[in-house]
Amino acid sequence: MKAVPLRKLVLGIGGLAAFILLWKLVTDAKLVSPVFFPGPERTYVALVKGLSGGPLLSQTFETVKRMLLGWLLASFVGILFGALVGVSKRARAFIAPTLELLRPLPASAMIPVAIAFLGFSDNMVLVVIAFGALWPMLLATVHGFAAMEPRLYEVSEVLGLNRAQVIWKLALPSAMPMILASLRLGLTISLILAVVGEMLASREGLGQSILAASRSFRSADLFAGIVILGAIGLFGSRLLSVAERHLLRWQASSR
């Protein structure tokens, strides 16, 4: 049983190594000018320099903080509002068409609106992140609540559970698989919007840092920033899937 995850890990690392090798081959062959496309070695050097004493560490911290704050805000509003809507058939019928209208709006389209209201501020970026990450969580919660096994409602009636107990003990756990999947999606969206927001509003962080590096032809710094962003995404998603496995250990198949 234990050999299988190990083999998976080895394969994953092998794939990553192959990717870096390919990257090196392409840059060594100078298919693209080194001014725009640094090799893995130069990127690594820039990464180490930036993280030890350079500005990369604090920029990473800023971006992660922004991403997490926006994500938490979106999760809180999304799950709470989703639960309120999802628990009542009438509320669903009332609000669902409006949600469907707002949902496909690209979060980037909201950026000018947010700028008009909040200016080029940290709060503006936060609002954009929260707005973009809100939808998957909101809709997953609404749908998760609506999809609860009808038999369980009958069980709750016969046992005499009150409304709060039905929400907390039946609807929320039964919606949990959908909510957790949406939390993962929301985290990715939060990272994307954190970077875009920093670029547009010139707030400190990796987004601003890679934009500045690109404009001054510091391609190694640019790629160091991109590598860190990739690592943040990977790490966040891994962390959430560990949480997911723990919370959904009752499910038939673990992913």
Binding site: E149, R151, L152, E154, V155, S156, E157, V158, L159, G160, L161, Q165, K169, L170, P173, S174, M176, L248, W250, Q251, A252
Partner: protein
């Protein structure tokens, strides 16, 4: 050995029958149920005495499950009413527990066996400190003592149905309703559960209404058997079962009276199917 006191009672051809003594536990008073123009139940009356076990049989579409749902307060009669201990049943009531056939849907997959039983205790505000002991006791009683930490998906169908029964017992019900609870189980598991349910009903003194389409199960469990007829659902016959208790899977089923009842019910049901 308790010989059922019902054996001396005359058989009733109609819908209404007298309780054993005093106020009946359940009084079904001329209930009808219609969805628009579609009449599902067309006037059923029945008194069920405290501690009595009633089996309900009938061809599919005769309203067996609907009748049970009305007793559980999950379906509202269009006219007439159900009384529990003399007061009208307005909706679901903790004193009336129901075991559904589809145990897979009725259990909480994210809770362990212990957690599923605990839900009933949480619902009636039992203090958290007292719950584990009660849960352990109930699981022990139903033969799941070793499986308290298992999730439903890790349990066989028979174990899951035991679990649902344990959760119902945690309600401390006066009335236990069962909707074809063993229909999806294999024959051996089914017989084991029949005996356990009979044992539980005997020790708790609960009144039981057991819906089944299995004639032998109906005879084996019941003090009386209510045969429903379809279109719309109504009582066709009520048959008294004068078999000794406690009942035994081999001896009871070989009893000439058992065989006679089986033939009688078979003829009744067969007629309805034609």
């Amino acid at each position: 050995m308790v010989v059922t006191q019902l054996s001396t009672r005359p058989r009733h051809g109609g819908g209404h029958s007298a309780p054993r003594s005093g106020e009946p536990r359940i009084r079904i008073r001329d209930v009808t149920l219609a969805y628009g123009p579609l009449q599902i139940i067309g006037g059923i009356s029945l008194d069920i005495a405290s501690g009595e076990t009633i089996s309900v049989i009938g061809p599919s579409g005769c309203g067996k499950t609907t009748l049970l749902r009305m007793l559980a307060g999950l379906a509202r009669p269009t006219s007439g009413g159900v009384e529990l201990d003399g007061s009208v049943l307005g909706g679901p009531n903790r004193s009336v527990a129901i075991v559904f056939q589809d145990y897979g849907k009725a259990l909480l997959p994210w809770r362990t066996a212990a957690g599923n039983v605990s839900l009933a205790l949480e619902a009636r505000g039992c203090p958290a400190k007292e719950r584990p002991a009660i849960v352990r006791d109930l699981l022990e009683k139903i033969g799941l003592g070793q499986h308290a930490a298992k999730y439903p998906r890790e349990m066989s169908g028979g174990m899951q149905q035991r679990l649902q029964i344990a959760r119902c017992l945690a309600q401390e019900p006066k009335v236990l309703l069962m909707d074809e609870p063993f229909g999806a189980l294999d024959a051996m598991t089914r017989q084991a559960l029949q005996d356990e349910v009979l044992g539980l009903v005997a020790t708790t003194g609960a009144t039981m209404v057991f819906v089944t389409h299995d004639l032998e199960e109906a005879i084996y469990l019941g003090d009386r058997i209510v045969c429903l007829q379809p279109n719309p659902g109504r009582v066709g016959r009520i048959v008294d079962v004068s078999l000794a208790r406690p009942r035994d899977q081999l001896l009871t089923r070989e009893d000439p009276e058992f065989l006679r009842l089986r033939r009688e019910l078979y003829d009744l049901i067969k007629d309805d199917h034609q």
